[in-house]
């Protein structure tokens, strides 16, 4: 049994109507951020045009695809150089055991030898890509973070409120 002609297009029209309602965000561009920096470089909480990925990316790691707002933005992230961190901590003698920085073994320390003022927490610094990226509706974009396309990000705005 076939539908009357007036109803044949109904499913299509209904689908179009529903798509127009829900489709604005479904048509947002999909974005993936990949860490292509160095083995000792960790990236945390990359964000781009309304998306933020609460992850830590080791070199070669990628985020899951996120639906971001169409438009232009740079990729923002926090960076930790594990090599530098390790060197600093070894210098402050807070890391007993192997120190890969100088190829040797640091002397064993008593807990009391460590300066109480030394901050052993790793410092993550704000960075962003030098280049601005453009994303449009319906696209899939893979952005690789490289050492020659990053700079410190001093633009983090303060909170806006009333």
């Amino acid at each position: 049994m076939s539908l009357p002609p007036s109803l044949r297009r109904a499913p299509t029209l209904v689908a179009l109507a529903l798509a127009s309602l829900s489709g604005c965000d479904l048509a947002y561009p999909e974005v993936v951020v990949v860490n292509r920096t160095a083995d000792t470089m960790l990236l945390r909480n990359p964000s781009f045009s309304g998306c933020i990925w609460p992850v830590v990316l080791a070199n070669g790691d990628a985020t899951s695809p996120g639906r971001c707002l169409p438009g232009d933005d740079r990729v923002h992230f926090k960076r930790l150089n594990a090599e530098t961190y390790c060197q600093d901590e070894a210098q402050d003698r807070t890391l007993p055991g192997v120190c890969p920085c100088d190829g040797g073994v640091a002397p064993e320390l008593d807990a009391g030898d460590v300066d109480a003022d030394v901050n052993t927490q790793p410092m993550w610094f704000n960075y962003q890509t030098v280049s601005s990226k453009h994303v449009g509706y319906g696209g899939f974009y893979l952005f690789e973070i490289t050492l020659d396309d990053m700079e410190q990000d001093f633009s983090i705005p303060g909170p806006y409120g009333h």
């Binding site: 109507a17 127009s20 309602l21 829900s22 489709g23 604005c24 965000d25 964000s47 781009f48 045009s49 309304g50 998306c51 933020i52 971001c68 707002l69 169409p70 438009g71 933005d73 740079r74 923002h76 962003q128 633009s155 983090i156 705005p157 303060g158 909170p159 806006y160 409120g161 009333h162």
Partner: protein, 672 residues
């Protein structure tokens, strides 16, 4: 319970439920000419009509809230009105304005309910170019960091939003701790009309009415029977809105209730949330002259600060509950009106960072309005108010010490009519504050209706705002207990022409503000201090064409010089609207196009951190089918579609808070 009600809303939508009993086409009194003029103007037979800068005479009385007049039947009549009467008695509300010399804009509730803008404050901004309200997404402004919705009127207000006072059904509405209203607490379901008083009026309204006042009046049934209206809609970003209102009158009892629930996932991570507003009112009329009304309104807003798009903060949530309860006793005889309004406004706020507060604003207002002579009337009032709260940082386990604020004020206003075409308004307020001692305030203005629709008006007013508890005591980001109150002397003068089809008006203004409270720097080096003196100058004008065949149109434009303090205080703004409507038998078809352009926006003072101009346009279309049943009762079915930002422009009122691109909302109203 809320979620189940949302489910009901979706169910109602699926069942195509909606009720529409009351049409916009209300005959309103043209206060300028003192005549009856049917104004429908625009889309769906409703017009802001009284955008008419007139407010209407204080010298005109009616019932407790209404006045009656004989007029030709309007194009669209109230739901239960006779449909075949040659002369019918229509009921129009008393003018909201109590000062004919002030510069103001009136927007009727039906126009708000049909707007493409997602919040009531944004609707007000669309109607008047000298009113600026930033937004950040679909339907929610939020609170605390990242919030928008601050109203700026002629350069004052905004951030913080405590220089603009919202008065809802005679009750000043703001938070005790932060001193400003919750922008998401207002929905148009039951709004009869709203008045924007430009240039403030602390003489009549007290503290915070410094840059302007938004006076909101809710609907009451005007004849026996009932009406139910259901408006359910669904749109982009999984936005679901359900609104139901009920009006009923039986014998001496009137009842009015409304419930609105909106939930959205937002156009990006963290931008979602929900808002629920429920209100109920009960009125008993002992006699036509004496009545008592009780009101309660509950607001629950949940959401978050999504943060700038480059560094989102999707976990910065907030949760706000507020409840306002009030009573109003009204007595009205020929030349006398007496009213007493006690009120209490309570709130509980929770934020992601451990912030937790209780606050209250409580008080009472008594007023006597007396017509002494055909050419003179006086209004005197006594207002008492107390503000207090408790604030904790639950994460740090700390509690902030705050001191309550209180004030008592006696005020008066005289309206003189030395000539039939001339109104002179004089007023003063003596305010005694628990913190700031005696505060004298005053105003003086005049309006001359020159005939043939031309009018001239001018006014000067000295207004005042006391520092909020937050500014004095709370380290968010910094406090200063030695702050002094703010003062502003606002002056304006305007001319205009008003006829059935054309309205042209222009106003120049100057606001001289002293001791404005401003935040500088960022934590931990921030400070909040009084600044010396600033002057804001500007001009505002509008042209409105009404009912030129099926078409109506409006353009409103404003330009201002705000001086050094440019943060979120635009240089220029234009709002426009074109609409067409056609009625054929029981069918009604209408469409409108609205737009807004904002120029000269900065995120910091001294013209730093400028952001691109805002330009956005929306489209709306609606169809209505009305059918009379069982003699006098009308049923109406009204599907509509709103196409917001149909040019899909990238724009932002606040840097980093990009607004949604093209998005769609469809809905259905059903009226009984």
């Amino acid at each position: 319970m809320v979620s189940s009600l949302r489910g009901l809303g979706l169910f109602a939508l699926l069942l195509a439920g909606s009720a529409y009993a009351r049409d916009g086409g209300v005959d309103v009194r043209d206060a300028t000419a003192g005549e009856q003029s049917p104004i429908d103007g625009g889309l769906l037979g409703v017009d802001g009509g009284p955008d008419l800068v007139s407010g209407g005479p204080d010298l005109v009385d009616g019932g407790p809230d209404t006045e009656h007049a004989v007029a030709p039947p309007p194009v669209a009549q109230a739901a239960s009105a006779p449909t075949q009467a040659s002369d019918v008695v229509v009921t129009a509300s008393r003018p909201l304005s109590r000062d004919r010399s002030q510069s103001s804009t009136v927007i009727v509730g039906e126009r708000m309910r049909q707007s493409t803008r997602t919040t009531l404050f944004e609707v007000l901004s669309q109607e008047a170019a000298d009113v600026y309200v930033p937004g950040r997404g679909v339907g929610l402004h939020g609170v605390a960091s990242g919030a928008t919705g601050g109203i700026k009127i002629r350069g004052l207000g905004g951030s913080p939003n405590s220089q603009i006072l919202v008065v809802e059904d005679g009750v000043p509405d703001y938070q005790g701790i932060f001193g400003h209203p919750i922008p998401d607490a207002y929905v148009p379901s039951l709004v009869e009309d709203a008045l924007i008083v430009k240039g403030g009026d602390s003489t009549l309204y007290g503290s915070n009415a410094m840059g302007g006042v938004v006076v909101i009046r809710s609907r009451w049934p005007d004849q026996d029977g009932y009406e139910v209206e259901n408006d359910a809609g669904y749109g982009s970003y999984s936005t679901l809105r359900e609104s139901v209102s009920f009006l009923g009158r039986a014998n001496a009892w009137d009842v009015a209730g409304a419930f609105t629930d909106m939930t959205t996932q937002g156009h990006r991570a963290g931008a979602g949330g929900s808002g629920m507003v429920g209100s109920a009112a009960l009125r008993y009329r002992w006699t036509p002259s004496l009545c008592l009304a009780l009101r309660n309104k509950v607001v629950h807003v949940q959401g978050g600060d999504p943060g700038p798009v480059s560094t989102p903060t999707p976990d910065h949530w907030f949760d706000v509950w507020r409840d306002t309860v009030s009573a109003q006793l009204n007595y009205r005889r020929d030349k006398l009106r007496l009213s007493a309004t006690p009120y209490l406004n309570l709130g509980v706020h929770r934020l992601y960072d451990g912030f937790y507060s209780h606050d209250y604003v409580g008080g009472a207002i008594g007023e006597l309005d007396l017509r002494l002579h055909r050419a003179a009337s006086v209004l005197v009032g006594l207002a008492v108010q107390g503000i207090d709260g408790r604030v904790e940082d639950r994460a740090a386990g700390e509690r902030s010490d705050v001191s309550a604020l209180g004030d008592v004020a006696f005020y008066g206003q005289a309206t003189l009519r030395p000539l039939p075409t001339l109104n002179v308004v004089l007023g003063s307020r003596a305010l005694a504050s628990s913190e700031y001692g005696f505060v004298p305030l005053y105003k003086a203005g005049a309006r001359w209706d020159a005939g043939r629709g031309f009018f001239v008006h001018g006014r000067v007013a000295r207004n005042f705002r006391q520092p909020t508890i937050r500014e004095r005591y709370l380290p968010y980001p910094v406090a200063n207990p030695d702050l002094k109150p703010e003062y502003a002397t606002n002056t304006d003068a305007g001319v205009g022409y008003l006829s059935a089809h054309l309205e042209i008006a222009a106003t120049v203004y100057r606001n001289d503000a002293r001791d404005l409270i401003k935040y500088f720097g960022a934590w931990p080096a921030a400070e909040v201090v009084n600044i010396d003196h600033i002057a804001i100058r500007g001009v505002e004008g509008r042209v409105r064409l009404r009912r030129l065949g099926p078409v109506s149109a409006m353009v409103s434009a404003a330009w201002q010089e705000v001086g050094r303090y440019t943060r979120q205080n635009p240089d220029a703004k234009i709002d426009f609207m074109v609409e067409g409507a056609h009625e054929f038998g029981p069918h009604f078809l209408a469409a409108n196009l609205t737009g807004e352009w904002v120029h000269g926006l900065y995120m910091a003072d001294y013209e730093r951190q400028g952001i691109p101009d805002v330009f956005v346009m929306d489209l709306a279309a609606r169809y209505r089918y009305r059918k009379g049943a069982s003699g006098q009762r009308l049923h109406a079915l009204e599907p509509y579609i709103l196409l917001r930002n149909f040019l899909d422009r990238r724009y932002a009122y606040v840097s980093g808070y990009t607004m949604p691109g093209f998005n769609v909302f469809v809905g259905l109203k059903l009226g009984i």
